[in-house]
């Protein structure tokens, strides 16, 4: 199966099971270290993840809040580099589709074609680049299309309708709907009007709509699903757990199961 097909199948399988939405946990590649990071990824798959979003550590992550920024800094200090993270991705991709998340400069420095080849070689299915908006995306979009990889665009509550329509038409894999105006991180409540944000995104695209940023509890995940999301992305809460305590894999595993439970068949 191609990357595009694997992503479509993952959302389809969640739907076929009668679950409320697909679960897509995020992990920072190489945090807290490479070995535990690999175990965390495999535990995500065992715990009910439908897809895994795999972050590549970056020095200046503009879209990320302090927890993910700090996790990336820890990984960089330990010498984690892109090939290391792609090897993690290769192992996780044996179980669930992997979507790599990194920043534009990490792609540009290698060259778009080489970067896309490396993704393909590691068995990744898609790519999220939070600082590559529509205007800057055409070349990367082509490189991904040629390899049947999904370049997943982000849309925000601030994105106007006309722009949303263009982004929705170009979206591959799924559309990443940012639930709030802000960086990644835990929030106590869900932003009002989430259903409207999801409905707006769904109306402009044929691909599934996933919601992320600020989802840190199982009830929030359930609320996102109730708002109509086809997929729910959980990041900071899990990255925080990965950095705490003596048994990070076990605590991350327990959390993922709780999130999966909140999205399971009602009743």
């Amino acid at each position: 199966m191609t990357g595009l097909e694997r992503i479509a199948a993952a959302f389809e399988s969640a739907r076929a099971d009668g679950r409320r939405a697909a679960l897509m946990p995020y992990m920072m590649g190489g945090f807290p270290d490479l070995e535990i990071s690999l175990e965390i990824g495999l535990e995500y798959a065992r715990g009910g993840a439908d897809l895994v979003e795999l972050g590549v550590p970056f020095s200046d992550p503009l879209a990320d809040g302090p927890v993910i920024h700090a996790a990336g800094t820890t990984a960089l200090r330990a010498g984690v580099r892109l090939p290391d993270v792609l090897e993690l991705g290769r192992a996780i991709a044996e179980h669930v589709p992997v979507i790599v998340m990194c920043y534009a400069n990490q792609i540009l420095v290698r060259g778009l074609e080489r970067f896309a080849d490396a993704l393909l070689d590691a068995g990744a299915s898609g790519l999220i680049v939070p600082d590559l908006p529509l205007e800057e995306a055409p070349a990367m979009l082509r490189a991904c299309e040629e390899r049947a990889l999904a370049l997943v665009p982000l849309v925000a509550p601030t994105t106007p309708d006309a722009r949303l329509a263009v982004i929705g038409a170009q979206a591959r894999g799924f559309i990443y709907t940012v639930s709030l105006t802000g960086t990644t991180g835990e929030r106590s409540g869900m932003q009002d009007g989430l259903a409207g944000v999801v409905a707006r995104a769904a109306a402009c695209t044929d691909v599934p709509v996933a919601v992320g940023f600020g989802i840190s509890t199982p009830p929030q995940a359930a609320a996102a699903a109730a708002a109509g999301a086809d997929g729910v992305i959980v990041g900071t809460r899990l990255v925080r757990a990965a950095g705490e305590g003596d048994a990070p894999v076990a605590s991350v595993g327990a959390l993922v199961r709780e999130f999966a439970g909140s999205l399971a068949v009602a009743g």
Binding site: D60, A63, N105, Q106, T181
Partner: protein, 388 residues
């Protein structure tokens, strides 16, 4: 309808989170409408004249010229209210924010001059102001931290990374992503996503427009060289741009060589070369490793301690219209002391880089040096290094 550049050759662009894209479009539309509005121009020019003190003088530095062996004129941006060129941009953008109905201003600062200028503009125009500043820079530039507080701004300490300008810009952008509907980000240099590099240049070109007319009047000719320091590059782009079509005038940007380019501890992405890349929303000359991780810059001058530079400078370099050189911490300190002793002017450590290069690189029939700011803020740091 008038337009504004998004790209300078291959450089520039808008590499930012989607959340900000509508705000950039709104800013661009607001600026295009404001710059064609005579009432806006009259208000801005009135403030530049009566509040900032423009035009700033062009002054022949007689004793320094004798020591250098060729004539050197200073464009005296140090005599502006708040002590540097930064106020030209801060006042313009604060007025624009008000026009857009945004009551909260975000800024970053390295040396503190842009932070002070923005805090000043916000006090004047009754706007809320948050200034992000690395804690290492807060230590180096303590008087400016105190000034910002007195002016009613909240200074937000940034602890990440090397705790200097790069991290302060990142923190300011993150604040903007979160509060974009109520806040305007007054970026301090000709960096960042479009339309900022061109917008800041248009607000800073008053330096070069005045200087060109003044030198023609005072010296009866154009300068052989126009010389200015380059961190992000706003005073240099402002003084360069009106001379770009005067092909006989050389444009020289002076970056921070820090401990020396060969040590890697510098702030000279244009001089050092290497692969271009994306930092803070723009594709330009940056300091990065082979994986695209951004490197920490180093300079004794907090305002030049930045691993990126404005995209228009990268294009002026590649197109051959300007050239870029670098001056070490030590050379800048010597020029700082020399200028104080010979001219009775204490220049900013940033501007001291431009003075150092002009003095050491004759002959020239006439040098125009942008004295971008005054050095009061640098006394503690400079005296410490000069061993006094």
């Amino acid at each position: 309808m008038s337009t504004i550049e998004h790209r300078f050759g291959p450089y520039g662009g808008q590499y930012v989170p989607e959340t900000l894209m509508p705000a950039l479009a709104e800013l661009e539309a607001a600026w295009l409408s404001a710059r064609d509005d005579p009432a806006f121009g009259a208000e801005l020019n009135g403030l530049l004249r009566d509040f900032v003190g423009r035009p700033s003088p062009l002054y022949q530095a007689q004793r320094l010229s004798e020591a250098a062996g060729h004539p050197i004129y200073f464009k005296r941006e140090d005599l502006n209210h708040t002590g540097a060129h930064k106020i030209n941009n801060a006042i313009g953008q604060a007025l624009l924010a008000k026009r857009m109905g945004k009551r909260r201003i975000i800024a970053e600062t390295g040396a503190g001059q842009h932070g002070v200028a923005t805090a000043t503009a916000c006090a004047l125009l009754d706007l809320e102001c948050a200034v992000y500043m690395g804690t290492e820079d807060m230590r180096r530039q303590k008087p400016n931290v105190e000034r910002m507080g007195l002016l009613g701004a909240s200074v937000e300490p940034v602890e990440a990374g090397a705790r200097t300008l790069k991290e302060a810009v990142s923190a300011a952008i993150r604040d903007w992503v979160t509060n974009v509907e109520t806040s305007h980000y007054v970026i301090g240099s000709c960096v960042g996503p479009a339309p900022y590099p061109a917008l800041v240049r248009e607000l800073q070109r008053v330096i070069g427009d005045e200087a060109r007319a003044q030198i023609l009047k005072q010296a009866g000719r154009l300068p052989e060289r126009v010389i200015a320091c380059v961190g992000g590059g706003s005073n240099s782009i402002g003084v360069f741009v009106p001379f770009v079509d005067d092909r006989e005038v050389q444009l020289v940007g002076v970056e921070a060589a820090g401990d020396g380019i060969e040590t890697g501890r510098h702030g000279a992405p244009l001089t050092a070369g290497g692969l271009p890349g994306v930092l803070h929303g723009a594709y330009s000359a940056i300091m990065q490793d082979e994986d695209g991780q951004i490197l920490e810059a180093h300079s004794i001058s907090a305002g030049l301690d930045y691993p990126g530079t404005g995209p228009e400078h990268a294009w002026l370099r590649d197109s051959g219209r300007a050239r870029y050189v670098a001056i070490t911490d030590r050379e800048a300190l010597d020029a700082f002391a020399t200028c104080a002793r010979l001219e009775g002017i204490i220049p900013a450590l940033e501007s001291s880089h431009a003075i150092a290069w002009a003095m050491a690189n004759g002959p020239s029939q006439l040098d125009l040096v942008c004295l971008s700011g005054r050095g009061d803020k640098d006394l503690a740091e400079a005296l410490d290094h000069l061993g006094r």
